[in-house]
Symmetry: C2
């Protein structure tokens, strides 16, 4: 049966550490996101790779370290996107809106990342805490927000007393929840927060919300 195809198996390089490692990471990301940390099966990850379980332990050491590696790679992607963002030429209001939209779009485009973060929170972020890569360097988004906030206050546009980290939390909460809780929210309230024809609505809603908060008229303290 399969003996006939054996020669065909030799397509591409048979030995390619980088490729094998990358493929394990990709499949592991899907499997962890699908079933949770405990629910994910090392055997299942191996089976969906063109290599074996042995290689997972060879390259990563174990399930725990594999999950950490998956997290590190996922966070690297969003940091890359945030780092690429250039809002220097925009006025503060437009800049905040642009940043909010970038966050919105990234959450929209990476539901697996959202699930991984949810899973990591269930486990009290112990993998992130143990990872030097993740716990040390912080998000570029914070610096961007900080600069925009300063400019907005100098120009008298922003009145809210809020710092960059808290504003980031506000923006993230909306984007994250919309994706992370879409299943329970949909089941309970009959509304799909991630429906295609509502995406623009929520994107606008987020921007309106943040700008309204930052620019609201406030009684003198």
């Amino acid at each position: 049966m399969t003996t006939v195809e054996e020669p065909a198996r030799r397509e591409g390089r048979i030995r390619d550490a980088a490729r094998t490692k990358a493929e394990i990471l990709k499949v592991a990301t899907e499997e962890f996101a699908r079933a949770g940390y405990t629910g994910a099966r090392v055997d299942e990850i191996a089976a969906r790779t063109r290599t074996t379980k042995r290689m997972i332990y060879y390259y990563f050491g174990g399930k725990e370290q594999l999950f950490t590696a998956v997290l590190e790679r996922s966070y690297a992607v969003i940091r890359q996107a945030e780092g690429d963002l250039d809002v220097g030429h925009l006025d503060p209001v437009a800049a905040i809106r642009r940043l909010a939209e970038l966050t919105f779009d990234h959450h929209e485009a990476h539901p697996d990342f959202i699930r991984l973060v949810s899973i990591e929170n269930i486990h009290d972020a112990e993998h992130i805490a143990a990872s030097e890569t993740l716990s040390s360097l912080n998000s570029p988004a914070i610096d961007v927000i900080r600069r925009i906030l300063e400019a907005g206050r100098e120009q008298g546009l922003f009145t809210a007393e809020v710092d960059a980290v808290d504003l980031h939390a506000m923006i993230s909460s909306f984007c994250f929840f919309r994706v992370s809780n879409r299943h329970t929210f949909g089941a309970l309230f009959g509304r799909d927060l991630t429906a295609d024809d509502r995406r623009e609505h929520y994107r606008t809603m987020l921007g309106d919300m943040v700008i309204a908060y930052l620019t609201a008229e406030r009684p003198a303290a």
Copy 2:
């Protein structure tokens, strides 16, 4: 050894279905919240109860149904709180703020509930979908919000074009994220979103955000 204590074991009723059932539910809630659905161990739940694993299967049928029962009970609690809320005597702005604070406080007070919902989302809300209790009747909060929104618009206070379900999503997202993602957020940005001395700050921030959004001046459409 233990033979001496055997008579003492007879304190309280030995046969009490309601009590046994309730105790299983309570311990199961903790265990599922702690370790996730797959990570939770039926043996562990049984061990922390004053009964045995046999009873879990006797009363609930299995791990899956037990988890569903845990979810149903948890949602019943928040619906109770929402149903008890009376904002009829408040003006729309104060009423929204009051509702937001109730949501905020409930999330703050029930971190286990948040974890269970996160876990249920990892599993695509399949338990909620299968539960008639949960998928049928909807939250009282939506009705409350709807009435407040109507009043606020009639009085010309609210300008935002938003319906009750989306506003509920906005409020929930902030409250939920603050608790659900506190571990990853804390590890990555060095800020504890649930620190005691910041609670009032975030409570106010939520109210300000929602009111600012609802009352913002908007260019004529």
